[in-house]
């Protein structure tokens, strides 16, 4: 009996260890639906599975807090993060390794955010108070970070107004259109798509760095890490690889500009950003 039990335990330990070598746990952006994730990420994931000869498994998170917690608790091997969550993760744990920075629309490695309102509504940001503001998510760069930075420059702050998180960039825009919010904050490239519906930009942000693919050095072996780096370098060299991929990834990758993320880390400290906000 004891022998049987020993065999079972040994089997489970070995199987889990082996499984770890065969599977990469990938965490997509949390604010998107699983169907959309599959559509958006399928090309990248297929490519990586082929290149590193390992299975990639999705680990869904409902929010950035959950995603970062999972990463810190070694439940995630690779993730795709915006600049703010990555800057935040850097300040918490130095074991994360940014493998590559994906280029945004138009092949740019940087992007901006926009504060906007509805056409026909006059908004003056100076000493702004008691206004309803629709934000994206806590860890969205164009959410709390940008809105708070913009308002502080104009002798106001989010705490002097009534702000809420709508869940996504498009939801922030819709809440302004339906008069549920008087001001909204979203990525400039997304805002521009909805200008024809009566959206009026108020102010744009400075440049923020684009999204990065981040690996967890505590869970991934050096060998796998090298394989991943090699695969991404291949994309950098041959732009045709990504041409048919989803908009998020089709513009290819560049080497990571760490300085920009470090600057963002400083900015977070300046505005007193906290995870539990």
């Amino acid at each position: 009996m004891i022998r049987v039990l020993f065999c079972f335990i040994t089997y489970f330990i070995l199987s889990s260890t082996l499984y770890a070598h065969w599977v990469i746990r990938f965490a997509p952006l949390p604010m998107e639906s699983s169907q959309k994730v599959l559509n958006d990420y399928k090309d990248l994931i297929n490519y990586l599975e082929n290149e590193i000869d390992m299975k990639v498994e999705f680990v869904y998170s409902t929010s950035y807090e959950e995603l970062i917690d999972n990463f810190l608790q070694k439940k995630i091997d690779v993730t795709f993060l915006g600049p703010l969550p990555y800057a935040y993760l850097l300040s918490k744990d130095d074991s994360s390794v940014a493998l590559a920075q994906f280029l945004g629309q138009g092949g740019s490695a940087k992007y901006t955010c926009t504060l906007f309102t509805r056409k026909g509504v006059d908004i003056n940001l100076d000493n702004l108070k008691d206004k309803k503001i629709g934000l994206t998510q806590k860890f969205s760069t164009c959410g709390y970070l940008f809105a708070q930075t913009a308002l502080l420059k104009n002798n106001s702050s989010l705490s002097k107004n009534k702000y809420k998180y709508t869940g996504s960039h498009s939801n922030a825009i819709l809440s302004v259109l339906l008069n549920e919010s008087e001001i909204g904050s979203a990525k400039t490239s997304i805002v521009e798509k909805y200008l024809h519906l009566g959206i009026k930009p108020i102010v744009h942000s400075d440049l923020y760095p684009s999204f990065v693919l981040v690996a967890n050095s505590k869970t991934i072996s050096d060998q796998v890490m090298q394989k991943l780096t090699k695969a991404l370098s291949k994309i950098k060299a041959k732009k045709n690889i990504t041409k048919s991929w989803n908009d998020k990834f089709k513009n290819g990758v560049i080497d990571v500009d760490y300085k920009m993320y470090k600057d963002m880390q400083k900015l977070l400290q300046e505005i007193g950003y906290k995870l539990d906000r």
């Binding site: 509805r118 498009s170 825009i173 819709l174 259109l177 339906l178 008069n179 997304i190 798509k193 909805y194 024809h196 519906l197 009566g198």
Partner: protein, 795 residues
């Protein structure tokens, strides 16, 4: 009577309740109508709002789908949007199909009906745009901003008013019915729980007013709280009334008992007749058997009042009750005369509450008043002669202002008469003298007297000051000559002395001395001083002379007595010690103790200033005792002999004598004590003195004679007294070096002492020359400032 009251009470209560109920029902029905209208209106508006919200969510839902699918694709969005709008309108129409509500959309000022007529829609649009409140429709709307749609939902108020009217009558009827029912219940309750009880209360009150407490029925306790309280209170009141009646009877008995137990006469009167009186009243007014009898003949007891507080009372002119009751500070002393009785009463009057009657209390104080008068007489009169006494004279002198004169007379040798013939004889003489003086002074029209003497006698008054002293005071005279006054004194003296007094078969001559003073102040003192002078100078009459300085001396003595008494009480009597130098051994062997008075500033005062005064004030022996005590204490632990001065008076004084012997017996070395006998006018009792000196010597003490050689101290002293030391008087010593006579006298004294084995001390040695002479003459001891002045401390 009770029934009529019951009907009236019912009517009075029921009609107002009925009227109030009608009014209340109207007000309540109006109020409830208002509430109902508001409630139904709210219900309608809420339902309308739900429909509007539902429409809004339909539109919003369509728009969200459009937004998520085509929002970021401009061209496709515009193309699809129109289709979606049309579909949305269709969906809205479907949702309103089976409802009671009409609706339309305003798109760019155009009306798109969803349900209901177009005309009605435009009418509603107009009302909506003018923001008026419609009387015929409930209207609710919502704006859909992305499409700029205004969705209006409305409903006619017809059904609402129908419901309202139907309910209005129901409410009014219900409220009225309820009001009537409540009123009936109230009336019923009043009838059952109050009317019956109130009727019984009225019955009870009627019986109470008649004083028939036994017919009062105790009420039942089953009504309301207030009525229960009322019933309880009435029941308690009835029981209290029963108790009060019994207490009143008891109090009445007590009052009568108290009245009858009083020794005072107690009367209840209104000033016109008497209503009640105790037995004491009838004991005094014993002709009357009862009050009625008294009232027939008298209106009030005041008729018998003779005087009130010393003023004559006439009952016809004044109201006695008023006079007495107004005088609240002092007792009212009323003299009452009835038949042959004449009594003094202390009368007090107290008005009774809520009546015009008074309680008059009359306390018979006749005996007390008589006793008081007797005491007063004794206080101011001499027992023996019945003449005014010294106290009376002092008060009279104080009372009378202006010029006055006083003759003080003292009978000579009355002490001897008393001793020889007995006190009764002495008293007889005093009585006879007083009679003679009294008769003389009262006989103001004697032909023997001059006119001025007659006038003086008219203004004079005789006093017996006590013992053998009389005084004649003359008051209220405008002016008189000293000679006239002296004339009165001489005449009075003559009356005393002229005739031989026959007392108990003895013929006695009485002589007297008189002191006379005139003025306005210190009359008594001055006359007394003049009398003393007369006695001292053995004159009959001495007129006080202001310029004699007697008064100042007198005053000075008084000041010294006071200073001395203060010093003694504060222990400021101190001893100083002057050394006595032994000429043979050339050492200080002895000290003389001298007394000093320390004044308030600490200066020492010599006995010259106070000893005579002390003698007069009888403080002399006290001073001697103090000196003995202090000197004994001082020399207790020293090796020196010391002397203390004592006078013959001290030896004659029993207590001082005893004190000296007592102190000597306690002193450890009595042989060191020397008693110096001070010079004295005359020593009469040598045997007594020697006896005492012998006792001193038995203890080992020595005796010295002070100030020998002058005054009264002479060789007879030395022969009669057994002395050890002789101190030669300073007057013989101080000029010893220059005065041959002094030297001769001192030689004689020294020779005498050497032969008699008496030690010699030379006093007042103040310089070397005298000291040398003293030594040369063989005197044993030297004392004086040459050796040392007296000091508080010794070696």
């Amino acid at each position: 009577m009770i029934d009529n009251r019951k009907i009236k009470t019912s009517t009075k209560i029921v009609i107002p309740i009925f009227i109030i109920a009608i009014f209340m029902s109207f007000f309540i029905s109006f109020y409830m109508d208002g509430l109902l209208k508001k409630h139904i209106e709210n219900f309608y508006l809420k339902s309308l709002d739900i429909v509007v919200q539902k429409n809004y969510y339909i539109v919003k839902s369509e728009y969200k789908n459009l937004f998520y699918n085509y929002g970021d694709k401009k061209d496709e969005f515009l193309e699809v949007q129109e289709v979606v709008k049309n579909e949305t309108i269709q969906n809205l129409k479907i949702s309103l199909e089976n409802s009671d509500y009409n609706s339309f959309i305003i798109i760019d000022d155009e009306v798109v009906p969803l349900k209901g007529g177009i005309k009605e829609a435009y009418k509603i649009k107009k009302i909506y745009e003018q923001k008026e409140e419609s009387l015929d429709y409930f209207i609710s709307s919502v704006n859909f901003i992305p499409w700029k749609w205004k969705i209006i939902v409305y409903q006619s108020k017809g059904a609402f008013f129908d419901i309202l009217n139907q309910n209005k009558y129901r409410v009014a009827s219900f409220v009225l019915l309820m009001a009537v029912l409540i009123m009936l219940v109230i009336v019923f309750m009043i009838k059952i729980f109050m009317q019956k009880q109130i009727t019984q209360i009225l019955k009870n009150l009627k019986e109470i007013s008649k004083g028939k407490y036994e017919k009062i029925k105790i009420l039942n306790f089953y009504s309301s709280y207030e009525l229960f309280q009322l019933i309880s209170n009435i029941n308690r009141t009835v029981l209290t009334l029963h108790r009060k009646k019994e207490q009143l009877e008891t109090a009445k008995d007590y009052t009568r008992a108290i009245l009858e137990s009083q020794k005072n006469i107690i009367i209840v009167s209104d000033g016109e007749r008497i209503y009640d009186a105790n037995n004491e009243f009838f004991k005094y007014f014993d002709d009357y058997k009862n009050i009625e009898e008294f009232n027939i003949q008298n209106s009030c007891v005041c008729g018998y009042f003779e005087s009130i507080n010393g003023e004559e009372y006439d009952g016809h002119k004044a109201d006695c009750i008023k006079i007495i009751s107004q005088n609240k500070k002092q007792n009212n002393k009323v003299v009452v005369a009835y038949k042959r009785k004449r009594n003094i009463f202390n009368v007090s009057i107290k008005m009774m509450h809520n009546t015009n009657k008074y309680v008059i209390s009359m306390n018979d104080i006749t005996n007390m008043e008589n006793y008081k008068n007797e005491l007063h007489f004794n206080l101011y009169h001499n027992d023996l002669t019945r003449l005014p006494n010294r106290r009376k004279l002092s008060e009279d002198i104080e009372k009378v202002e202006g010029l006055k004169a006083l003759i003080v007379c003292d009978l000579d040798s009355l002490k001897e008469i008393n001793d020889f013939y007995g006190h009764s004889t002495g008293d007889m003489i005093i009585r006879i003298v007083s009679q003679r003086l009294n008769n003389f002074l009262n006989d103001c029209e004697s032909l023997e007297d001059s006119q001025s003497l007659q006038i003086l006698k008219k203004h004079s008054k005789l006093y017996h000051l006590g013992g053998d002293e009389f005084a004649i005071a003359i008051f209220n005279m405008d002016a008189y000559e000293e000679s006239e006054l002296k004339g009165l004194a001489e005449a009075s003296l003559q009356k005393i002395q002229d005739q031989v007094l026959k007392v108990k078969n003895h013929s006695l001559f009485v002589r007297a001395s008189m002191g006379v003073s005139i003025g306005s102040k210190n009359l008594f003192t001055q006359a007394d001083m003049a009398l003393k002078e007369a006695k001292a100078k053995k004159k009959d009459i001495v007129l006080y002379d202001k310029n004699s300085g007697l008064l100042e001396e007198y005053k000075e003595n008084l000041v010294w007595i006071q200073r001395l008494e203060e010093a003694l009480s504060e222990d400021r009597l101190v001893c100083v010690y002057q050394p006595i130098y032994c000429n043979k051994s050339k050492q200080i062997k002895k000290y003389e103790t001298l007394v000093r008075l320390k004044d308030e500033e600490g200066s020492l005062i010599a006995p010259y200033f106070f000893l005579e005064v002390a003698r007069k004030a009888k403080l002399y022996s006290y001073i001697t005792k103090t000196v003995i005590k202090k000197s004994f204490e001082h020399f207790k632990d020293k090796k020196y002999s010391f002397s203390i001065n004592i006078s013959i008076e001290d030896i004659e004084e029993v207590t001082t004598r005893s004190y000296i012997l007592e102190m000597l017996s306690q002193f450890p070395e009595p042989h060191r004590v020397v008693f110096e006998l001070l010079e004295s006018e005359q020593i009469e009792k040598y045997s007594e003195i020697n006896e005492f000196l012998f006792k001193l010597k038995e203890y080992g003490a020595k005796v010295a004679v002070d100030d020998f050689g002058t005054g009264y101290s002479n060789f007879s002293y030395l022969l009669n007294l057994d002395i050890d030391i002789l101190k030669i008087d300073g007057s013989l010593i101080k000029n010893l070096d220059t005065d041959a006579n002094s030297r001769a006298v001192v030689h004689t004294i020294v020779d005498f002492c050497k032969h008699s084995n008496i030690e010699i001390v030379a006093e007042y040695v103040d310089r070397q020359e005298v000291f040398d002479k003293v030594n040369k003459m063989g005197i044993d001891y030297t004392q004086g400032y040459f050796i040392s002045e007296p000091k508080e401390e010794t070696l």
